[in-house]
């Protein structure tokens, strides 16, 4: 093929050479031109657009990372720790180092027990992390798990036990309704906070004080400018701005009083609110049953959540704050004061109780609780013996408009403005309300039963306590405060929080107020008082009022089991009280759900709460 035998023309070496030289020259010129083109391209990138690419290279390299602040602690007013950041351990996996995750989990199972849910959540979060980032598998390891892992550590690579600060609530269910809890931050939470400040935060106050004081407890996130490589691994910190930890919150709660109230309720459902009338602070707030808020901190398991939902009496529902109860006779002091202050009746004026009261032209009577009635009664006796007829007539004399006007001043029918989210407003009926709600006129019979706190009236235990505080306080109505003091990070002294004055009920006749309070004193201390046994052997003078609440529907979302309706129809037992009579330092409202009798069931709880508080306060 190459030594062709066919005759061929003689090669002209010189021509060939010239042709080659010309081609080589042409080629070299093209090469030089193309090189110049390349230089132009690099000039375009490196000189003309240098700034542009420098910016992009910097933003490649430098990332800003949040530094999460430590959440503020929560104390009670005596300095007991209610919500703490407890060092805890969690198990994390670094996929890059672990190799086959399935196999690793299989082996790990022999050492540490984790649920399918935890594994499922791990796989769900797997995609959000990069290979070299460690992904939490199990939170809150107990000591034996940590120890077991330590012994077996050599068997695993890419798995580590990481310390972190976990929110913890040592008093668990007893304070769950007040403190609330923090939970994993979700999209809904981000909508109501400054997202920039929460970039590194994993937990946020979901309900209760944790939610109300979220912005203060959380603190201010710091930032770290870090240099990262292409895969996002942090190589070094360029600049750091420290986070500002959240404030420490001192609540006005006294755990000793809370405990007393909690224990006295026993297995019954109910709620207790105790306020200090002198400053509007909340001494105790119990809603029973409670639940363990610690379960929610790391995401409650479906089984645990279902167990809470399935247990009786709605543990998640805060009765003290949002429960709606018919006030019954506990409303009488306020109706009585309205009558006296608005001049419908005098302090000495008496009403004759026969046991039955009929509206003109009506057959159906309104009853006294005592057959045959109480005879002649003035305001003091009417309160002492809870004489319905006195208040039937008084309510008629006042009329619904004036009742609404006067009771509104004590905060009925609207939220008290306490520093907790989710407060109920109760209901203080009026002509307008009824027309709007039922498109019906107001009937006189409805005025009559309003006089004894029945009919449309709904109060929350907190409202009742706050109204009583207003009454013993000469009409000063405050928005109750759960926060007692706030300690800024770095400060030694906590700054006192005061309850804002919401309204001053006008005092026209001081004697009228004293007469009502005296009536309440006689409820406990009078010979015929409805709660005359409750203050036996007390070191102080106690005053109060019993009440019975016909079941009105605990909450709109409560499901009544058909078979339990009978039990659910039992009355709620109510008692409101304050002490010492001469110089009130505490007011309390007690509701025992389906308790039956205010005297028998609610009053002793109120006594225990007063004892618990005053035993400390009086010896101080």
């Amino acid at each position: 093929m190459f030594r062709s035998n066919t005759p061929r023309p003689i090669k002209d070496a010189h021509d060939e050479q010239r042709l080659f030289a010309s081609r080589a020259r042409t080629g070299f010129i093209i090469i030089v031109l193309l090189f110049l083109g390349l230089v132009a391209r690099y000039f375009y990138l490196q000189v003309s657009h240098h700034e542009d690419f420098t910016t992009r290279s910097e933003s490649n390299r430098v990332q800003v990372q949040p530094v999460t602040p430590n959440r503020g602690l929560i104390y009670d007013r005596r300095g007991r720790l209610l919500a703490e950041n407890r060092p805890a351990f969690r198990l994390e996996i670094i996929p890059e180092e672990a190799g086959s995750i399935e196999e690793t989990l299989q082996t790990l199972r022999e050492v540490i027990v984790f649920s399918e849910e935890e594994e499922e959540r791990f796989w769900k979060t797997r995609n959000r992390y990069r290979d070299f980032e460690s992904i939490p598998l199990k939170f809150n390891l107990d000591e034996s798990e940590v120890a077991r892992f330590a012994v077996n550590r050599h068997r695993f690579s890419g798995i580590k036990v990481v310390p972190y600060l976990a929110r913890s609530y040592p008093y668990a269910d007893m304070l769950a309704h007040v403190l609330g809890y923090v939970g994993r931050l979700d999209a809904g939470d981000l909508a109501r906070v400054d997202e920039r400040n929460y970039r590194g935060t994993t937990h946020i106050g979901k309900i209760g004080a944790e939610r109300f004081y979220e912005s203060q407890l959380h603190g201010t996130s710091g930032i770290e400018r870090v240099e990262t490589n292409a895969r996002g691994r942090v190589l070094r910190v360029l600049e750091r701005q420290d986070p500002v930890p959240g404030v420490d919150l001192v609540l006005s709660l006294d755990v000793a009083v809370q405990q007393a109230a909690w224990d006295m309720l026993g297995d019954r459902a109910g709620s207790i609110v105790a306020l200090d009338p002198t400053d509007g602070s909340v001494i105790a707030m119990v809603s029973k049953p409670g639940y363990d808020p610690n379960l929610f901190v790391h995401g409650i398991s479906n089984a645990d959540y279902q167990a809470i939902l399935d247990s009786p009496n709605q543990p998640l529902f805060n009765r003290a704050l949002a429960g709606g109860y018919e006030p019954g006779s506990t409303l009488k002091p306020f109706i009585g004061l309205a009558g006296l202050e608005l001049g419908v009746i005098g302090i000495q004026d008496t009403v004759f109780s026969t046991g039955e009261f009929r509206l003109e032209g009506q057959v159906r009577p309104f009853h006294d609780w005592k057959d045959g009635g109480h005879g002649w009664a003035d305001i003091r006796l009417a309160l002492e013996e809870s004489v319905n007829t006195y208040f039937y007539k008084l309510a008629l004399g006042l009329g619904i408009d004036r009742i609404h006007f006067y009771l509104d001043q004590f905060g009925f029918g609207k939220p008290t403005g306490i520093d907790l989210p989710g407060e109920g407003s109760g209901l203080l009926p009026s002509r307008d309300w009824k027309r709007g709600r039922y498109n019906e006129p107001w009937y006189p019979g409805e005025t009559v039963i309003s006089g004894i706190g029945q009919g449309f009236n709904v109060v929350t235990p907190l409202q009742l306590a706050n109204a009583l505080a207003t009454l013993v306080n000469g009409g000063q109505r405050k928005a109750p405060r759960l926060a007692y003091a706030i300690k800024q990070p770095g400060d030694v002294q906590a700054e006192r929080v005061s309850a804002p004055l919401v309204f001053q009920v006008p005092v026209n006749n001081n004697q009228a107020w004293l007469a009502v309070l005296d009536g309440l004193r006689r409820v406990v201390n009078g010979a015929r008082g409805t709660a005359r046994d409750v203050a036996l052997n007390a070191d102080y003078v106690m005053a109060g009022k019993t009440g019975t609440s016909q079941v009105f529907g605990l909450a709109e979302d409560e499901k009544y089991e058909e078979s339990e309706v009978a039990e659910h129809l039992r009355h709620h037992a109510l008692f409101i009280a304050f002490a010492p009579y001469e110089n009130p330092k505490i007011v309390v409202a007690v509701v025992v759900d389906h308790g039956g009798s205010g005297t028998r069931d609610a009053a002793p709880i109120a006594r225990a709460v007063l004892d618990a508080w005053l035993s400390q306060e009086l010896t101080r």
Binding site: F2, S4, R8, A24, Q46
Partner: protein, 363 residues
């Protein structure tokens, strides 16, 4: 004067200019590699050993007279073609059939073809009347197209391009008619859509991301974007050796192989790039000069073709790094990390040196 210089140095067998250029580029390459490997001396060491082997090979080849090479050329070409066909059938490698595992070393037959094809075309044209007529041009075209086709199917577009152009340059330098050159260009432009059909999916993605890198900045477009950022942020004088953030923080993909020029451009800037290009241009120019003084047709065509192929390496690689061409796997000669290409490049330069030392004037 001549007495002060030892005899073997004065020997005409080595082209000192070319050797100096090769060493300058290689040393620059090792320095850049140290930076591009994340300051891993092991990489530099391995590459230095390869370059050393390559240099020894280069000197050995430079001792072989061109006419011996010419006699062996058909055998070499045939051997390469068989290996290539074998590789096609039983190759190993990352999804592509490029490597032939010979037990001790893994070997890329396509690399051999980078030399064998221009040698074959030159040998084919050597006894013939130049400029070649239609028939000879067609036959020579077949010589270069057969291996090109197999390499393209491996698939290895970069090497296929280098092999085809080395053969093509031989023909061009042999004086093939402009009419043919123009027709081939027109026909290949017209056939480029057909090429698209034969491309593997990853190759199509490379072209897509080249045309529109911002459409998938974290995926297909990543290479081009990050490489351009590295080059652009280098500026006129560069960020300094070992200080290129794009390089050190691993934003540049394949930073020690195909994209090593991005590392160089980031750390040494436009001035560095111009200097490096000047070194390459000098090397190419020297190669072309050697061609013009070569003794016979074979040597002349082969030398010119080798020099111009070197240019294709530099052009394609630096155009790719700066986003002017799609990503094709063509290394930067003597700088990119990797053994095979360095050895075959140095072997080519050895051939050039042999042609130089057996040039016309000697005898």
């Amino acid at each position: 004067m001549n007495r002060l210089i030892p005899g073997w140095v004065r020997s005409p067998r080595l082209d000192w200019i070319m050797l100096a250029l090769v060493l300058m580029i290689s040393v620059t390459g090792l320095a850049v590699l140290y930076s591009a490997s994340g300051q891993d001396a092991a990489y530099v060491e391995r590459q230095a050993i390869r370059l050393g082997i390559g240099l020894v090979g280069m000197i050995m080849i430079s001792l072989v007279p061109p006419h011996v090479l010419r006699i062996w050329t058909p055998w070499l070409f045939g051997f390469g073609l068989i290996l290539l066909a074998t590789t096609w059938l039983v190759g190993v490698g990352r999804g592509t059939q490029r490597w032939l595992d010979l037990g001790i070393i893994r070997f890329q037959p396509s690399e051999l073809m980078k030399l064998a094809v221009p040698m074959m075309v030159a040998a084919f044209l050597h006894p013939r009347m130049l400029p070649p007529g239609w028939k000879d041009s067609l036959l020579a075209g077949l010589i270069l197209l057969a291996p090109t086709f197999i390499i393209m199917r491996q698939p290895d577009l970069g090497t296929a391009l280098l092999v085809a152009s080395s053969g093509g340059f031989t023909l061009f330098l042999a004086g093939i008619r402009w009419r043919i050159i123009v027709s081939v260009m027109v026909v290949s432009a017209a056939l480029s859509p057909v090429l698209w059909i034969f491309m593997e999916e990853y190759q199509r993605n490379r072209v897509r991301s080249f045309l529109e890198p911002e459409s998938d900045p974290l995926g297909q477009g990543w290479n081009i974007i990050q490489s351009k950022i590295a080059v652009g942020s280098g500026g006129l004088t560069g960020k300094g050796w070992l200080n290129g953030t794009q390089a050190q923080l691993e934003f540049i993909p394949e930073r020690h192989t195909d994209f090593i020029l991005a590392v160089f451009a980031e750390e040494f800037g436009l001035l560095g790039v111009c200097l490096l290009l000047a070194l390459y241009l000098a090397l190419i120019g020297r190669g072309l000069y050697i061609a013009t003084i070569a003794r016979d047709t074979y040597s002349r065509l082969l030398a010119g073709s080798l020099a111009m192929t070197l240019f294709v390496y530099v052009l394609v690689n630096s155009a790719m790094v700066s986003g002017l061409l799609p990503v094709v796997g063509i290394p930067l000669p003597l700088i990119s990390y990797g053994g095979t290409s360095a050895v075959s490049l140095l072997a080519g330069i050895g051939i050039l040196m042999s042609i130089y030392s057996h040039r016309k004037f000697i005898k």
